[in-house]
């Protein structure tokens, strides 16, 4: 003979409560997602061959070709040369320094992650002078950065060209 339904209902409610309690206990123990990785690239944009910028590095990752169209939005220069590249983790609520060149460090603070995975960044582009007391903030901004769309910063002129920075969130 089958047991009455109300006995199963009691079992069901008990099992549901146990599963809920287990989930609420174990959910916070799940591994937090790793902090996002940010990369800063420094390009030298010029009409010439770039010989006046001796610190060029080989573009092994194809970054110039990848961003050439976007870089042309920032400058009318015909050629782009990669000078520096720096990748680091941007842990939430901490400031990090990305230094594709020690003369132009980027200070970035990951102030939070958006529901769509984008991060909010408070960043400052510095220019180091020969004397530390003369370090200058060139530009500062609050930006929501996604992995799909990098941020390009067209900075100061230098020699026969212009220094252009690119910040991207690694996916």
């Amino acid at each position: 003979m089958m047991p009455p339904l109300h006995r199963h209902s009691r079992r069901f409610i008990t099992a549901l409560c146990a599963a809920w309690a287990a989930w609420t206990t174990l959910a916070p123990l799940q591994a937090a997602p790793p902090p996002p990785q940010l990369t800063a690239l420094l390009f030298y944009a010029t009409d010439g061959d770039g010989s006046e910028a001796p610190e060029k590095m080989p573009d092994t990752s194809g970054d110039i070709k990848r961003y050439e169209k976007a870089l042309r939005q920032a400058t009318t220069a015909r050629h782009f040369h990669l000078i520096g590249k720096h990748t680091a983790e941007a842990q939430a609520r901490f400031s990090i320094w990305l230094k594709p060149s020690p003369q132009f460090p980027l200070q970035l603070e990951n102030t939070g992650t958006m529901p769509d995975g984008a991060i909010t960044l408070y960043w400052i582009l510095w220019q180091k002078e020969t004397l530390p007391i003369k370090d200058r903030e060139l530009v500062k901004s609050t930006t929501i950065l996604t992995a799909k769309t990098p941020l390009i910063i067209a900075g100061p002129q230098w020699r026969n060209g212009r220094l252009i920075f690119l910040v991207r969130k690694e996916s």
Binding site: H8, E55, F104, Q107, R136, S141
Partner: protein
């Protein structure tokens, strides 16, 4: 009103009045009085037979027959629908038995928990739905302007700082290629 039980003597007396076989007059009964009762009962019976017909036809035979035929048709229709009804009942029985199976309790609890988890933690939105956005931008340098542009192919957001003094040509911009982890610095401490 409660029915009083009939005593065996009364029952035997009634049978004697009705002139049933094997019904002798009970003892202690006056035969004359009993005979008068018997004659009165026979007179009432004769009177009833004379005035009440033994066979009574329905008042409207055609209507009666039509109602009988209608009842027959209704019952036939019920019998035709019976298999579907029985099938529905058996389906409900099977569902009831299935719901009463012991493993069903745990399985349903797990399913409800999974649904609750998905309902509480909605799937993250696709980053592609919204690109990089510059909320604020400012240059402390004098005589500078900042412009925010989106590349024609939406592949990048460009912040152009115009009017900056040029970086001295006699200084070298040293390039670095680093992937070493950064030493973390507390917020707003350059």
């Amino acid at each position: 009103m409660k029915d009083e039980p009939i005593s065996p003597q009364d029952s035997q007396m009634t049978r004697w009045i009705d002139a049933l076989p094997d019904a002798p007059l009970p003892e202690g009964i006056n035969i004359d009085e009993a005979s008068r009762e018997r004659a009165a009962a026979a007179a009432v019976a004769t009177l009833l037979r004379q005035h009440v017909p033994l066979r009574q036809d329905p008042p409207y035979p055609d209507f009666f027959n039509a109602q009988v035929l209608k009842k027959i048709r209704d019952e036939e229709a019920l019998l035709e629908r019976a298999p579907a009804t029985r099938q529905a009942a058996s389906w409900r029985d099977v569902l009831g038995q299935w719901l009463r199976t012991p493993w069903m309790t745990g399985a349903t609890a797990a399913a409800c928990t999974a649904i609750a988890i998905f309902a509480i933690n909605p799937r993250p939105l696709d980053e592609a739905s919204s690109g990089t956005r510059v909320l604020t931008v400012f240059s402390p340098e004098p005589n500078t302007t900042t412009r925010v542009m989106t590349a024609a192919d939406q592949s990048a957001v460009v912040v152009s700082v115009d009017g900056l003094s040029a970086f001295p040509s006699d200084r070298l911009v040293v390039g670095l290629h680093t992937t070493e982890p950064q030493s973390l610095v507390a917020s707003h401490q350059p």
